[in-house]
């Protein structure tokens, strides 16, 4: 396995895209991708939360390993994520009330987004160093944002066309996601060369 920083970045961003290839963060991917503005804001806030919680989780994991308390990992990680989301919310409310009003509803939803929990779990399972973890977190959340933005743009176009009533809603979104996922399968070949 290649552990160079560039490889980790491309792998998490495109080859093993979190949403389209590993199926993480599906709920918000299907639920919040109907408008571009919403999808974009959700993507950026998830990026921030993932990066901060990944850094905090890395430090916490060192402490847990030192005191042989690895069984507490799941609980500490979820507490870290909940705290990060709360902090982000408070930070945005203080610095930019306008932005807070625009994305206030979406912030608390990030806590139960499985993509956020997956980054610390994966980085621990793969024994990444600190720099590798940060690169992995940025790339993975960037991949999430990329998939959200692409799907929201496609859905905005599809809204204008004439679709049978039965297929409207989740089923149609899933078919769109399947086509996107097939497109991302094309990146799989890049892994062998790198």
């Amino acid at each position: 396995m290649n552990d160079s920083l560039g490889h980790i970045f491309v792998d998490a961003l495109l080859i093993n895209n979190f949403v389209l290839c590993v199926f993480l963060g599906m709920c918000s991917f299907l639920g919040l991708s109907s408008k571009f503005a919403t999808a974009w804001r959700m993507g950026v806030s998830v990026m921030f939360v993932i990066t901060v919680s990944s850094i905090l989780a890395f430090g916490t994991n060192l402490i847990l390993v030192r005191y042989h308390a690895e069984y507490l990992r799941i609980i500490t990680y979820i507490v870290i994520i909940a705290a990060t989301v709360q902090l982000t919310e408070m930070f945005i409310r203080k610095t930019s009330p306008a932005l807070f009003r625009a994305m206030g509803i979406y912030l608390p939803l990030i806590t139960t987004n499985c993509a956020v929990l997956a980054v610390p779990v994966f980085q621990t399972a793969r024994n990444y160093s600190f720099v590798q973890s940060v690169v992995f977190a940025i790339a993975a959340s960037g991949g999430y944002t990329l998939a959200m933005v692409i799907l929201s743009l496609v859905r905005e176009r599809v809204e204008l066309s004439d679709i049978p009533d039965l297929a409207r809603g989740t089923a149609l979104t899933l078919v769109l996601a399947a086509i996107l996922s097939m497109a991302f399968m094309g990146f799989a070949g890049m892994g062998n060369g790198g």
Binding site: L20, V22, L30, G31, I78, A118, V121, G169, M185
Partner: protein, 240 residues
């Protein structure tokens, strides 16, 4: 369209079910409010783990255990926890149950543990569990909440095995590891890969929508006929 009314986001405010008796709490999750096909919740494990029937059933049972135990615990502490910190408490309870499941699966079968991999810790972030704690267990007595968790979990297992069956039979030509077709069958590998997950879930959802839509239309027809008969009745009475 019933499909459009269903909130897709995991955090949509679903109406809290208020079944009259305890048995309904159990059967509700199996069919009428099936977490995957009707409520469209918990999509991550639904799509990620269903490339074989065995994994799908293992994941479903693990989720069932977490749902039942966390629902029971939440219902026990529901009167002690202040309203402001209830979500944080629920998440901690769920995380504890998931840690137990993590060790249980590792102890029972190391192969299954390797196949499910990081998706066992990710049960914490499965929206079904938090949704049931918030909508049902926080308001209902202990036995009812546990039964609701069991029902929802078994409904989830059922949905996962439906999806797993389609993907394993088409993608590998096997069912639970037994070859279904002859040796001439060329496996449709796409169904084991991510796009196949999306496509087979889309087809299942369409089938269920079609089914429910047809049922609703039949019921509507009966109501319309009933009204027509009632409208004709007074005329007949006048005529006679």
């Amino acid at each position: 369209m019933s499909n459009e009314q269903t909130p897709i986001a995991c955090h949509g405010t679903l109406p809290a079910s208020s079944p009259a008796d305890t048995m309904v709490a159990f059967t509700n999750g199996l069919w009428k409010q099936n977490p995957v096909f009707v409520q469209v919740l918990g999509m991550c494990p639904t799509l990620a783990i269903t490339n074989s029937v065995r994994n799908a059933i293992a994941m479903g049972l693990a989720t069932t255990f977490v749902l039942a135990s966390s629902n029971g615990l939440v219902s026990m502490v529901r009167k002690l926890v202040p309203k402001q910190v209830r979500i944080a408490t629920y998440i901690l309870i769920i995380a504890t149950s998931v840690t137990i499941v993590d060790f249980l699966v590792k102890a029972i079968s190391i192969n299954v543990y390797k196949a499910l991999g990081p998706f066992i810790p990710l049960i914490v972030a499965n929206c079904i569990i938090l949704e049931r704690s918030e909508a049902f267990a926080g308001k209902n007595p202990f036995v009812k909440s546990v039964l609701d968790g069991l029902g929802m979990g078994l409904g989830f297992t059922f949905a996962l095995s439906c999806l797993g069956t389609v993907r394993e039979v088409l993608g590998a030509g096997t069912f639970l590891g037994i070859h279904v077709f002859g040796s001439n069958f060329e496996p449709w590998v796409l169904f084991l890969l991510p796009p196949g997950g999306f496509i087979s879930l889309a087809i299942w959802l369409l089938t269920f929508t079609l089914w429910r839509d047809r049922g609703a239309r039949k019921r509507r027809k009966v109501v319309v006929q009933d009204q027509e008969i009632r409208q004709e009745m007074p005329e007949m009475e006048v005529a006679s």
